[in-house]
Symmetry: D2
Subunit: 458 residues, 4 copies
């Protein structure tokens, strides 16, 4: 197999080197975008007078055929041709003859691969955002369905205060909304045409790069050919966005795994989303959620991987950059899977309202007592200490706050009156948190309306 | 020392636990912002009728005094008070008496610390952006000064093609511009008021959070109290932006370190920016650049550190989150230092034009020959191979391309004519790269004009 | 302030550069080891005839005085002297005059700093191992005390099978034993004398490095001066060992945090180890454990930080390597704190035997039923499926396995006989796991004996 | 397709869940070891009386057949069977009938997968160590061949002092020797039998685990069934060892890439190990070395990935742990490739002795002058400063030290005599570094002899 660059070389490439340095095993994933790019490149060459109408026609037709084969999976990639670019070019030459050799005019693999990746990332982000939107919409729907369910919010994994389940669900919706913002930022980073930057210095020919950008639907051009071929920021932005989203998913998964324990018993997952044990017949495991949680690992690892490659790398293109692809392919695939999995969970999950409710009272209401005293004029710090003593009193006697009599309360402070007892109800407690962003029903309903509007839910 | 929360506890806190869990050793850095926040909180409590005019007045005055002492460095922080918040509150109570105990009304450390950090990040980003802008402007000025200097662009650290130094410098300016975009994104993430979220569920009192936001110059409110206290996205965004900027700096530093070797000899650093060896009297080392390169390590480490803390962390606040501060303080400080150092380098650096020029000719011009043939109608792939053979011919004879005669050229292809020889000049080569983003003088000057305008350079 | 290397320089060092590149702010932590090293160096120089008896005497006395001041904290470090080494040398010269200038004979900061660090790491590891040993011994003691406590082992955070608490505790003891192995490996990596390697090439003078090694209690010599000054493996080994130990601690902490929730209720932490909330009077939070869990973040970050610094760093010494110190100081300090904290937890923790016991029966016993059938000759896979059906039967009826009658069992398989019912007891279940490493009392006692012997517990 | 655990389940597994949670796509790589393990398990079951001779015979024969098909690549794995273990078992049952269902007696996938991985790691380490040994031996051979070649050692990438190339090469051999130590540590971590630990609690049947260990050539047993199924230290140790070795390779690669630049010109790589450019006909790029350097990225990423998965993971087995495999497979494959590539480089590389030699003189000799003065009695610090001034003098005049006359020298110090001039020769300089580990020929030859002995080179 002839190498396209072998003119200067006196020895054939070592077989191991060929296999170690080839990237076609994984960059063939870029083939559809590579061919799309080549078609735009042909049109640009034509417009610059570097190809005749006939030549362009022939090339475009050849490329279209290859595209079809690639999409059908019938195109055969050959490792000795190094990468997806040379595979496409070599096949084109073998089919079309000499004219195929004109495709690489005014182009280097250095600007070509970046252009492929940028197209790929843009499409990948679109798909991830679609799946992320589904998760968010499902959270909003669940929130609407569960507006009257109370559960304890936890801090330090200790019951803190009663909140509405809807409030909890909308908290994750907020985080996933930020994830979309980060993903779209990666999209915008990627949305610049690199083609026309050549190997590093730009190209010798009068290409109309704005025309190419239009053909490939890029919003702007890379403004500097050195930066365009040396830089991988748009991939970092993507890997970072995926890592953070994966982290959010790992936290939600952790909560749901906890909630599906026998001990919490807040949720029940449908059998179809669980798997069993090879040895313990009773087991029904939330494997799906565990994997979603664990996959934060590879998302973090992929980010570290590319950051490491780029650290102190001399300008401009170095072959080290070939290592940019697998982490990106993997992070996109992983995140898509995790999002799809989380959607399924949110569709199938059953909340056990009774268990949640019964856990949301008790000591989780003590802050309300303290705030009661504040409204009676006691400085908060004193109120806090005083209610701390009531707590100690309850713990000693194994008593619940709901069981306190007014008389008992008044032993601690004469500020307590009849209405204090009414506070000792999770629902009352929740509904007192009525400021913007709080867990009161009225306020959660307001946030819910906004969320529905933002998500386009009627 | 009394703990503010000790009412419920029957034992004093263990001394080791006190020292291990305290954060005041480092979070005292937040004190100015913590006090600023408390002043806004007092005004909000006043407006909600939770403080009388007199009480508010007294608290504000007390806080102002503390602020003064903090800024002067005379405020004494005590570890047994756990953190910056409790230090400020305790001091206030000890000075003002009972009214001091009203400060923490309708507030939890969970929303308070986030508000401090958000204020801190916003100010930190502003300062980093200022220093980053200086680096960018210096790059633009240097580019303008060096518009006629040529050097070889390297790919694979092999001389690739001649480019203008200005073109190289503007490439880094592009990357640093993207860094600003990432930093401002972190700013926007941070720019939301968390106060009013309470411990997790919101607050019981009718606070006007929009008023607080206005006082503290936040652009929007955190919309969900659970998310507001559980989430640390705005810190991740910052750590990520710092890591990427540090990576860019590490690459620029690597180039400049290479260029200041005896072997490259492209630049000379002034003595004042270098240090010597404790043992080798002749050494003049680019330590400043080496440290800038090395500091990518801690910037990456800080990002990994917080990502790790957040992985699978149950909702909402957990004490693990206390680990969010040191990485952020360190990354901001580190990046500021690296940027300031790079500015100094770019101010003092001398480019050795002769050495750069003489390195930019030779084989780096071969692509131009290939492109010449393309313009004569030869398919690029054939032209490439043919010029590869010329290269082999030159290497065998130890000859430079500039020394080729037309006759020799024509032995390889009859398409070569007299004008081909004119190509063998780095300046001609560079100036042929005239498409958008290329290295031709005219085009670089155009980019330079845009850059000057964007940087506000007259 | 004169720089020791300024002979070759024509400008004073820039103030910012001085401050950015100095390391004395943190490497002063190495001072005691630096001075110890210098004393050994003086003796070696004396033995090589490079110092007279008098000179050596004077230097040793001077160093002793400095050491005293360093240990008392009265030595004043000056930033403009760059690092701990130059601070010590400069002070010595200022006190002793000319002879002080002989200290740096046949030594470079490049071999000096590595020697300091190696001494520091060795002492640090010793201390960490002592604290780790305490944790392990406490686990063993707890195991002995709790040999009759049963709890459910969890897989997928679902109750799996009953085990002995002692068995659980000894599992962590195994992991912490492996951590000691890793730490000692770091110790052995560090245990080689670098001094005598000079700046990179070795030294010109006939130093007896074996003598120096003996004085400083190094077990061997670095065998190659280039490697000795370029390499930081011994620090990576330490950072890695700390990271893994921190990971184990994070898992144990996670379990204990879960167990101390209201929902699990398996353990009670003493008040002295918990802290409260600034706002919620009832809260008693396991902050200590949460911080231990969270500190995995910085331990991971420190490892990534140094790995990043070293990636693709040219041979040999580069100033980037100055970034090796803070991660190491921080990881040692962090791990010591986490271990000390975990010791306290294991001393104060109360296990709630009743709650554990009552959670360890029920469906967690179903595997025993399947195994019963296997012993009756049914292939395991069929037995598993059959008992799966019994599980489904129980779940439908909301029945516990202990409530099954023989008759009911025999509806599923006639292989069941009277003795099957006896299996439905957590203790019977646990004690059936009698193979090596299993949870049967007899076997756990055997492992416990081995553990006590290994830990030197009588 | 029936799931082996479906008895308890009322719904079929969701198709997406099946595909997302299956691991057979990658864990099929473990198949040979899985079957080997099953054969040992059958023998152990037989010895425990849990299988009859006939049953065991039938199972062993069935497994042998499957092994053959696996090794030939003809075994067909099915995703709906989740993982390699269930694929093997299901196929066995389909071929052998009921007896196949006895294979999983007294075994869980939790102890099975760990046993597979441990076997896999042991074999993987053996192979990596073989390749690493080749690299080391090649370094030793090269060192022997190049004993008389001098080059400048660099610190701060500035020429520091002349050293022997052999000394440089042996420095990397030292590092790679430490890598072997780390890899063997991973081997020892892995070398413990997990089988017999069951799902978490041990097994109900009287298995002779020592017999199994002997059959599978494990050196010891996992001593605690909880630890055995929860822990992944042996994988971390491997990923860490690979990361550090990859770091060393990245540094050596960086040096060689620098040395193969036009500017350094210290080495020439054979054409067969280089690749060309798709656009620049003159390019001959050290892609192989660049990839070796870049692959540090994925090796670091894989380590971070698994560390992340394990952070705060509840005890014992969780499905997150399925994420442990791909990083391990990838790191082993990557490191093998990088080592094989480095071996090829070290076989084909040509050192350009003249260029190295001519770079090793000049100012790199100034330390020798300072040391000369020390031997004349001048305190080193003064000598250093004085020679610093000579350096400044030379730089001003653009003179080389070799061009200094005695007279000029004496203008700086009267201590200089005729023999001082003899020092100004790289070879003299190098050979003066004669202490243990220094670069003097005699000493390097001594180290070389040791190295040859250690590597078994005659």
């Amino acid at each position: 197999m002839q190498k396209p660059w072998e003119g200067r070389f006196k020895e054939a490439t070592d077989k191991f080197v060929e296999s170690f340095t080839q990237s076609v095993d994984f960059d063939k994933e870029l083939a559809p975008w590579d061919i799309e790019q080549s078609m735009a490149h042909v049109k640009t060459l034509l417009s610059a007078g570097l190809l005749s109408q006939e030549e362009a026609q022939s090339l475009l037709q050849g490329l279209q055929e290859l595209q079809k084969e690639v999409l059908q999976g019938s195109f055969e990639f050959r490792r000795e041709l190094e990468d997806v670019h040379m595979n496409v070019e070599a096949e084109l030459i073998s089919r079309l003859g000499e004219v195929g050799g004109k495709l690489h005019t005014a182009r280097s693999r250095n600007d070509q691969v970046v252009t492929d990746e940028r197209l790929y990332v843009k499409d990948g982000v679109r798909e991830v955002c679609r799946l992320l939107g589904e998760v968010r919409r499902r959270l909003v729907e669940l929130a609407e369905e569960s507006i009257d369910i109370l559960l304890p919010a936890y801090t330090h994994l200790q019951r803190a205060q009663p909140i509405r389940l809807a409030h909890y669900l909308l908290a994750y919706r907020e985080m996933f909304l930020e994830d979309e913002r980060r993903l779209l930022q990666a999209y915008r980073s990627a949305d610049a045409l690199a083609l026309g930057s050549g190997a590093v210095a730009g190209v010798d020919f009068p290409l109309d790069r704005f025309y190419t950008a239009e053909l490939l639907r890029f919003n702007r051009l890379c403004r500097n050919s050195v930066q365009a071929t040396a830089d991988r920021d748009y991939l970092l932005d993507l890997l970072y966005a995926c890592a953070v989203c994966g982290m959010h998913l790992s936290r939600l998964a952790e909560d749901l795994i906890l909630w599906s324990t026998e001990e919490f018993g807040f949720v029940e997952l449908p059998d179809r989303l669980c798997t069993g044990s090879s040895i313990m017949p009773q087991k029904k495991n939330p494997d799906l959620l565990e994997l979603i949680r664990g996959k934060a690992g590879r998302l973090y690892g992929n980010l570290v991987s590319l950051l490491t490659v780029l650290k102190a790398l001399p300008t401009a293109y170095n072959r080290d950059l070939q290592e940019d692809k697998e982490p990106v392919f993997d992070s996109l695939k992983t995140l898509k899977g995790s999002l799809e999995g989380m959607s399924l969970v949110l569709e199938g999950i059953q909340f056990r309202e009774d268990r949640m409710k019964s856990a949301s009272g008790g000591l989780a209401l003590m802050t309300d007592l303290a705030n009661y005293l504040v409204l009676k004029g006691l400085p908060f710090r004193q109120a806090h200490r005083l209610v701390g003593s009531i707590t100690a009193y309850l713990l000693e006697r194994g008593k619940k706050p709901e069981e306190l009599s007014l008389e008992e309360l008044r032993r601690f402070s004469e500020l307590f009156e009849e209405d204090a007892l009414r506070l000792l109800d999770p629902q009352v407690s929740a509904d007192r948190k009525g400021t913007y962003g709080g867990t009161a029903k009225e306020e959660v309903l307001r946030r819910l309306q906004v969320a529905k509007r933002e998500e386009g839910i009627p």
